[in-house]
């Protein structure tokens, strides 16, 4: 039998009972479709969290007050509750850690902000001119805080685009206007470019003010909540991390690293932790969807067994006219593989459509990767072989004389 013959025989057999073939295929369509959709949700979440972490800067280390309490969750642990880092710590890092390209201390808290009758509650970040470089922020209009602003405690503010929209209206002219933060008036001097952040809060909903101004007029103390450090390159990140830890332990008179009153987070660690969480999430979703795929496979097996019984006489005839075991085996196996392969194809289309619908209507990022599509095809063909093997073997093993007599 040539490939062409097998294909024709398979097509002819499957179209004899279109409804049954279709329903059996539906099991695989739903199985593959849900696997594709679920994995796309998982991978979409992974990609969006990663890009959101990457967008806060490159080769970044964050020093935060409070002890590091296990991986990942320490991103905000102790923030605001412990006050151990100061501007002087940041200056010391700047001068003593040679591999640190830029250092930007900041003080972040949420305040009520008003402007011309509108009001919002947003994050106020007091910081220094190097902050945009370290944290990968770009200025859309106007200028960022300058050294002289920090020195002279200027009451100037740089607005994130979302905050600007909230206070002044969509894309309104805001530069030169006044915003009132915690009963203190600030003049708007710049607007940052949108980062389109999702995931870890909206990075566009923020107001930047000079660090000194924030400490004096808003916080009333000299502590900082985070020191962002940009390493010279990716390979020096670990060195910078070690040097910063040693320096700060020395400055804070701590000898036991486990008792440190600060923690140094490496951006790569955050990415790795987030990836492992979303990876687990993806596997979980995929596994649940995979169950429906197995159920679909059993449906295929059930149909193929019924078909073999129904077509016993046909099998007997084919053997009588010269078909070998291998021919019968190939024919039935190719029928089940054809079903699962077609099911896999429509399943990929269905899963992709589901992913599109989820993105457009639920706003959850999804990403259908080529790998998951290739995997789905491989798995569906594999299911055809696994669940078609037993029925095909049964068909091939029939005795032609008994098969011909079968009523």
């Amino acid at each position: 039998m040539t490939i062409n013959d097998i294909f024709e025989e398979t097509y002819a057999s499957l179209t004899v009972n279109k409804v049954r073939s279709g329903l059996t295929m539906l099991g695989i369509v739903i199985g593959i479709g849900s696997v594709i959709a679920m994995i796309s949700i998982g991978q979409g979440a992974q990609a969006s969290i990663q890009s959101s972490i990457q967008s806060i800067g490159s080769n970044l280390l964050l020093v935060m007050p409070g002890a590091q309490r296990g991986p990942g969750v320490a991103v905000s642990a102790g923030r605001g509750s412990a006050q151990t880092l100061t501007q002087e710590d940041a200056d010391a890092i700047q001068t003593e850690v040679m591999l640190a390209k830029a250092v930007a201390p900041e003080i972040s808290r949420r305040y009520q902000v008003t402007a011309r009758g509108t009001n919002t509650n947003t994050q106020i970040t007091g910081t220094v001119p190097s902050y945009p470089d370290v944290r990968n922020i770009q200025i859309d209009e106007g200028a960022f805080i300058s050294d002289s602003d920090v020195r002279s405690l200027s009451k100037v503010a740089v607005l994130g685009p979302a905050t600007r929209d909230d206070l002044f209206g969509e894309s309104a002219e805001a530069i030169g206007q006044t915003v009132r933060i915690n009963k203190v008036d600030f003049r708007v001097i710049g607007i940052t470019k949108s980062k389109g952040g999702t995931g870890f809060g909206n990075q566009d909903d923020v107001i930047f003010v000079p660090l000194s101004t924030a400490q004096r007029f808003l916080a009333g103390d000299t502590y900082v909540t985070t020191i962002s450090i940009q390493a010279a390159d990716e390979s020096s990140m670990t060195d910078v991390q070690n040097q910063v830890t040693a320096l700060l332990m020395d400055r804070h008179h701590i000898s036991d690293p486990t008792l440190a009153d600060f923690s140094v987070l490496n951006q790569a660690d955050i990415v790795a932790t987030a990836s492992s969480i979303t990876g687990t999430f993806t596997i979980l979703l995929g596994a649940i969807a995979g169950i429906s795929l197995v159920v679909g496979g059993i449906g295929i097996m059930n149909m193929m067994l019924t078909t073999v019984t129904e077509r016993t006489r046909e099998i007997g005839l084919r053997k009588a006219i010269g078909a070998k075991k291998k021919d019968i085996n190939t024919q039935f196996l190719s029928e089940s593989v054809m079903l699962t392969f077609l099911g896999g194809f429509f399943g990929v289309v269905l899963g992709w459509l589901i992913a599109l619908v989820i993105t457009n209507f639920a706003g959850i990022a999804t990403s259908v990767s080529l790998t998951s599509v290739a995997l789905a095809f491989g798995v569906s063909a594999g299911i055809g072989i696994v669940f078609g093997y037993y029925p095909a073997r049964r068909a091939a093993g029939l005795n032609p004389i008994e098969a011909l007599r079968y009523e």
Binding site: M1, T2, V16, R313, L317, A320, I321, G322, A323, D327
Partner: protein, 238 residues
């Protein structure tokens, strides 16, 4: 050319042995039209299965066209059936939702003959079996019993076999249609020189052959030339 020497067939069901064939010997020359006749349970079907290479004998030798067929494996038997044997069954055994042409071409699928030639072989076989050309594209379940049996005959002819076995070919047909089908076999034997072995329990059907082998209780009781052959003036199916 068929040469059978002392063929036996024994079935084992649990501890019970059933001797279906108890030593059968005969020779059928190519071009003969032979009927194997016997009541049900006589062993004629078992004999046909062995002669048709669907089964092997328990003992004895069966030589087909100079080749010993009695000790072959399943796949080797399948090759013999594919190249040398055609079957016509009582219940036609057509693929019901396939066209007449596809049914007739079915044996060629397993031979590796190129597509274009399959079609012309099938058309040739259908002409020889006497099925009107306007039926060739019909689905086989749209045909009458007589037409179905002609399709089955064409299917048996299509690989140009040495022997055609017809197992009760008229059993599911009315007597007039059965007569026409038997006439077709006579034509194929006379004009195309096909070897035909007819298996039946009806003396009337057997009398259409040139020679009748009577079988009873697993043994040949008589093997003689049919002196009063019933000739059918074949008028092809309408």
């Amino acid at each position: 050319m068929i040469e059978c020497q002392d063929i036996t067939k024994t079935y084992h069901t649990g501890n019970v042995e059933t001797h279906v064939l108890k030593g059968v010997s005969f020779t059928i020359k190519s071009g003969e039209f032979v009927a194997i006749m016997g009541p049900s349970g006589s062993g004629k079907s078992t004999l046909m299965h062995i002669l048709g290479a669907l089964d092997t004998p328990t003992s004895g030798t069966y030589v087909l066209d100079g080749q010993d067929v009695s000790k072959l494996t399943d796949d080797e038997l399948a090759d013999i059936r594919k190249n040398k044997i055609g079957f016509v069954f009582q219940s036609f055994n057509l693929l019901s939702r396939a066209s007449v042409l596809r049914n007739v071409m079915l044996p060629l699928v397993y031979t590796g003959i190129p597509k274009a030639q399959r079609q012309s072989d099938a058309e040739h076989a259908l002409r020889a079996a006497g099925l009107a050309e306007d039926r060739w594209q019909h689905l086989s379940n749209q045909l009458s019993g007589g037409q179905m049996q002609r399709v089955a005959i064409a299917r048996a002819l299509v690989n140009n076999p040495s022997i055609i076995f017809a197992d009760e070919p008229t059993g599911n047909l009315d007597s007039r249609t059965g007569e026409i089908v038997l006439g077709t076999f006579q034509d194929l034997n006379r004009q195309e020189k096909h070897t035909i072995i007819l298996i039946t329990h009806e003396p009337y059907v057997a009398e259409h052959a040139d020679r009748i082998i009577y079988i009873q209780d697993g043994l040949i009781t008589r093997d003689e030339k049919n002196i009063q052959k019933r000739l059918v003036e074949n008028h092809h199916d309408h």
